[in-house]
């Protein structure tokens, strides 16, 4: 729009009442857990559910639901930041570290590659550098707040990468593709930032 925007009298953005340094730029704190989705909520039967890590040569390793649940679990607590500007503090998760899964994949002969494409039920994808899902930075989470992860929040299992905008934490995850080249995911193709660091406010392509 040309000229000065019309300011709505008495309309205020949601001001952060958060401790200094805890909210990334442009974010506000919410106590809710808003639900954002690019499609209908899948409800796969757990007996048919699996999780696969596959390299670009086609080598793969697969876990059933019971296999995944039998792996060592972690209970990370993290602040999460959605690109639509809400942040939620101290969210409590339960899941398996991606490090654990990648170590098993390496032992099974799956080649490591510098890029990851997370693939979900319903066709959703998101891309990340491998370095951003290793060294204790990412989990396959199946518990939230002491309960099984609800379908609308990505259950039975979702990727959790809390240091990046939350669209990178793919709901309904079914696998990771380890790729030699970066391959933009569902939102990244459509103008959202390829990396998505909330502290640098990397919302859209072209943001620094």
């Amino acid at each position: 729009m040309a000229g000065n925007p019309f300011i709505a009298r008495g309309f205020h953005s949601r001001r952060p009442a958060a401790p200094p340094g805890r909210l990334p730029p442009g974010q506000y704190e919410t106590r809710d857990f808003p639900v954002l989705s690019a499609g209908p909520t899948p409800r796969p039967p757990l007996a048919a559910w699996d999780f696969t890590i596959r390299d670009s040569e086609g080598h793969s390793v697969r876990w059933s639901w019971d296999d995944l649940r039998a792996l060592p679990r972690e209970t990370p607590t993290a602040d999460i930041h959605c690109v639509t500007k809400w942040s939620k503090f101290d969210t409590k998760w339960e899941g398996v570290s991606v490090d654990t899964l990648l170590a098993a994949a390496r032992s099974a002969g799956v080649a490591s590659n510098p890029f990851v494409l997370a693939v979900s039920d319903g066709g959703y994808t998101t891309n990340l550098p491998l370095a951003d899902v290793t060294d204790g930075k990412a989990w396959i989470a199946f518990g939230y707040g002491g309960e099984p992860l609800a379908p609308e929040h990505g259950g039975p299992a979702r990727l959790l990468v809390p240091h990046l905008y939350f669209w990178k934490s793919a709901k309904w995850i079914r696998g990771l593709r380890l790729l030699p080249d970066d391959q933009p995911g569902f939102w990244e193709q459509l103008g959202y930032h390829n990396y998505g660091d909330p502290w640098r406010e990397q919302r859209y392509q072209g943001d620094p």
Binding site: M1, F6, A8, R9, G10, F11, R14
Partner: protein, 255 residues
């Protein structure tokens, strides 16, 4: 047949600042905003506008609201469902007042619209605030000459949670005094003790009683929450109505 596109669909979509002339409570959860819009190009019953709020620090929020007023009225009226934890609807119902400006663009939408020239009979099915665009259609119809109205009878079936949640209740009861308009309410939660109307979710039997037989080839407009819209649209087709004459618009809670 060729015709110029109506201005309402062919004009450029720019933001304008409308003047608020009144904000009035409709029900406990809804309010209507009466607007004077300079250079309003006119609209069709069923269309909506986008409303944009900009805070002094640049923060923006945008929502869509259906137009409640008929094209014939001088003022533009939007009816807003107030979502308690929302950020736009509480502003519109609680903060906005006469003499304020309100930024909007429109009219928007061409699918869920009805002109009297398209004829009828009309079968309107509403859930909750989904009645808003349907009320615009009934009000538009009421402006037509009696002879035209007689050829376009209308039935409205409106599902609300309680008697007090019925938006435009008095207005709809006035409209229903015409012999060619039927308005039926169904109340899904608490009904008054003397309530003798429907008190269940809209079902096939209700649609067969209030609707028209498929042989009357009505134009059906269904607006409300997604589960209601999908259920009613499916039932209408099962009853035998032509799917091409059943138009739907889904309303969701937008704060």
């Amino acid at each position: 047949m060729t015709a110029e596109l109506p201005a309402a669909t062919a004009s450029r979509l720019d933001w304008h600042v409308a003047s608020v002339t009144d904000v009035r409570r409709e029900t406990a959860r809804t309010c209507s905003i009466v607007l004077d819009v300079p250079q309003w190009p006119g609209h069709r019953a069923g269309q909506h506008v986008d409303v944009r709020l900009v805070a002094d620090d640049g923060y923006q929020a945008q929502r869509s609201y259906s137009i409640a007023s008929p094209p014939e009225d001088a003022s533009l009226v939007l009816t807003v469902e107030r979502i308690d934890d929302g950020e736009v609807s509480p502003y519109l119902c609680d903060v906005l007042q006469a003499h304020d400006g309100l930024e909007l663009r429109g009219p928007i939408g061409g699918y869920f619209v009805w002109d009297i020239a398209e004829g009828g009979p009309l079968l309107l099915v509403a859930g909750g605030s989904g009645v808003v665009p349907l009320a615009a259609m009934l009000r538009h119809r009421a402006h037509a000459a009696a002879s035209v109205r007689a050829s376009v009878p209308a039935h409205l079936l409106y599902s609300a949670r309680t008697w007090d949640d019925i938006i435009y209740r008095d207005d709809l009861e006035q409209l229903a005094k015409f012999s060619d308009v039927t308005v039926a309410f169904t109340i899904t939660r608490e009904a008054p003790s003397d309530w003798r109307g429907y008190r269940r979710r809209i079902d096939r039997a209700m649609l067969e009683e209030i609707g028209w037989p498929p042989s009357a080839t009505p134009r059906a407009y269904v607006c409300g929450p997604t589960p209601l819209v999908e259920s009613v649209a499916t039932l209408l087709v099962e009853i035998g109505h032509d799917p091409a004459r059943v138009r739907t618009e889904r309303f969701g809670p937008t704060g």
